[in-house]
């Protein structure tokens, strides 16, 4: 499947907008990409390993509310991360 990053997340994946991964679940896909880009983990996940609520995850263009790491994925899936945060 294809993982897509944009905006402020790009910095943490060496500005690669798309990363191709073969993984059975969202959690496994993330683990693989975090192995390549270790700082991404602290950005994407909280201290308990869950995806931070500030990140929106789209699977094949559909918003996946409260995306679970166990979400099964197929080879043809597109996963996009979008982060909308602002200052005080």
């Amino acid at each position: 499947m294809m993982l897509r990053f944009s905006g402020l997340l790009l910095r943490y994946v060496d500005y690669q907008r798309t990363i191709s991964i073969a993984a059975p679940t969202l959690g496994d896909a993330l683990r693989q990409v975090e192995t390549r880009f270790p700082t991404l983990r602290q950005i994407l996940r909280d201290g308990e390993g869950r995806i931070r609520a500030t990140h929106r995850v789209f699977i094949n263009g559909e918003l996946a509310p409260a995306a679970e790491l166990g979400t099964p994925l197929a080879d043809s899936d597109n996963i996009e991360f979008l982060t909308a945060i602002a200052g005080g």
């Binding site: 944009s6 905006g7 602290q42 950005i43 201290g47 263009g61 979008l82 945060i85 602002a86 005080g88």
Partner: protein, 402 residues
Amino acid sequence: MADLLWSQTVSEAKAALEFDARWGRLMTDINVDAAAREAGAIPIPRRFFTRAGLLGLQALPLPPSVGGEALDPVSWSLALERIGYLCQDSGFPLVLGFRAIIAQALFETGRPDVIERYVKPVARGTLGIAMAYSEDADAFSFRTTLRRTAAGYLLAGHKDFMTGGLQADVILTYARTEDDDMVACLVHKDDPGVHVTPLAPVGTRTSGPAALDLHDVPLPEERIVASVDGLSHAQRLLNARRLTVSCAPVGRARALVELCVARLNTTVRHGQKLGEFPNVQGALGRMYISVEAARAMLYRAAQRVADGEADPLFDSLVSAAKNFIAEQVRSVLDETTRVLGGYFYYGDPYFGTCMRDFAGLVAVAGTQDILEVNLGSLVRTHTPPRVGSQHDNESKKEGPLP
């Protein structure tokens, strides 16, 4: 009788009358020295927040179990707009609105100790609370840390600015942990190692703006109110702030139009009142459009929150409303400058106050540019691809370029 100029539903008119009956006197009293406080950058006195608590204003949107009236977001927005219309001290609605947001967030922890120790006193107006989030860094590069030692937790770092910091007894702040997460925690102003320094901002100078320094502040574990994903915790508060911070300026913009008209109707040039010149009336028309457009956007966003349909972390409509309102109220002020000329510049320092205060709306709760970038990325991501459009079909017919 309905107002034939300004849009106001019957229930809105009733709410305004009720507001004036309950808190009109408080607004009048706050106005007495508002200009002098603004000129001297003197924080609005705590006694006004104590009275706001005593009279039930501070607790309005909070649950009845903590002394509130559980006012819905639309009605609370109307109340804040009314404050903006009546109150000449911009610091008051700014601090009042933010305290309510922080109290609500603390209430939502569900912890009886937090509710008793902090939420109820804030609702009563006897405890001042502020939020210190921003640093001179992006959110993923904050330098304020919470570290565990043999003797307990220690908090260290610097927060560049916080609204209402000078009137606060307790500060909700955010720190990175050793596992690179972020926590939300409460520090007391009298904790050892806590230093609050007054700031001299461009506008909203009575709001008690301050910087926060934390020098190895010992932090009892129970003061941690969000132990994981403090970033999302902060974004929830800032999203809510985007709505509340937009309300009072809308009321103030309408008051500004009326102040402007009063001057235009008593100033004569070339044998005519200024208000009778067509170009001046055109400006007044544009000011009216700006205020009404800002109101429409504000209440559509507030209704979305009231309906439970808003994204609690970054709502597109709430963010768009803050962005739009900031531009509209600044546009009203710009038109005022044009029609009043020298009087705007020299005649009444209140115009300068509005100019400085409205400038703050560009930056507060997410700068205009950041909101626009976020909104644009959401529009792009949320918009489904259009298939079979005329353009696509024509392109396919033509085939690839050689």
